[in-house]
């Protein structure tokens, strides 16, 4: 099993067992949170053209 698969399975188990509120508290307690999602996304999206943005969105359909 890859690291990505282990993380994915672990997150799903926690959400199912603890619910969203306790899962959030759990990850805050163990120190996973970091960075600024707004900045991380904006640094990339502000450079995208319309065509690049639509290509990214369509890739997730």
């Amino acid at each position: 099993m890859s690291e990505q698969e282990i993380i994915k399975e672990g997150v799903h188990v926690l959400y199912d067992e603890l619910g969203p509120e306790k899962t959030v508290k759990f990850f805050q307690l163990v120190g996973v949170p970091r960075g600024d999602t707004l900045k991380e996304i904006e640094e990339i999206t502000e450079k995208l053209s319309k065509e690049e943005a639509l290509k990214l969105v369509k890739s997730q359909q």
Binding site: E3, Q4, I7, K8, V11, H12, L14, Y15, P20, E21, T23, V24, F27, Q28, V32, P33, R34, G35, D36, T37, L38, E40, I41, E42, I44, T45, E46, L48, S49, K50, A53, L54, L56, V57, K58, S59, Q60, Q61
Partner: protein, 148 residues
């Protein structure tokens, strides 16, 4: 509809006071959705932006939250693209204009932590009204106060 940064706030660095306060407001929104006065919709643009979050663990956590909280996924269509084209000159970020367009065509509220969108919301709302859409754009704190 919630901007991607609202879902991500819970897993951001809350040692900064501003981020901590926004994270608490975002958690309040998620709790409102669980007790049902609020229905949160996802969209193709939300799932696209989730792929841009740095760090595998954080990305999976935010995705897990989206999958637990959102009840319906709105799909991209020509109407949404056309409206995004109109919004773009105000926000200068096509992904932002798409997200606002998804919200305007399917929801009553759009909540975001993005101060640039909040700063320009009067212009955005006016444009949307001229196209026949009524959207309330709020930061998480304003949204919680209005809904609860």
């Amino acid at each position: 509809m919630l901007n991607t940064n609202v879902f991500g706030r819970l897993y951001d660095d809350i040692s900064q006071n501003r981020i901590l306060q926004e994270a608490l407001d975002c958690l309040h929104i998620f709790l409102l959705s669980i007790t049902k006065p609020v229905v949160i919709k996802s969209s193709d643009v939300l799932f696209a932006e989730l792929t841009l979050i740095k760090g595998e663990a954080k990305r999976e956590l935010v995705l897990g939250l989206v999958n637990k909280i959102c009840e319906e996924r709105v799909r991209l269509n020509e109407q949404i693209i056309g409206l995004a084209d109109d919004i773009y000159p105000i926000v200068n970020d096509y992904m932002d204009s798409l997200h606002i367009s998804f919200a305007a065509t399917n929801c009553t509220y759009f909540a975001t932590c993005d101060k640039d969108i909040i700063k320009n919301r009067e212009k955005i709302v006016k444009l949307l009204k001229s196209r026949g859409f009524n959207l309330n754009i709020k930061n998480p704190s304003e949204f919680v106060k209005e809904i609860k």
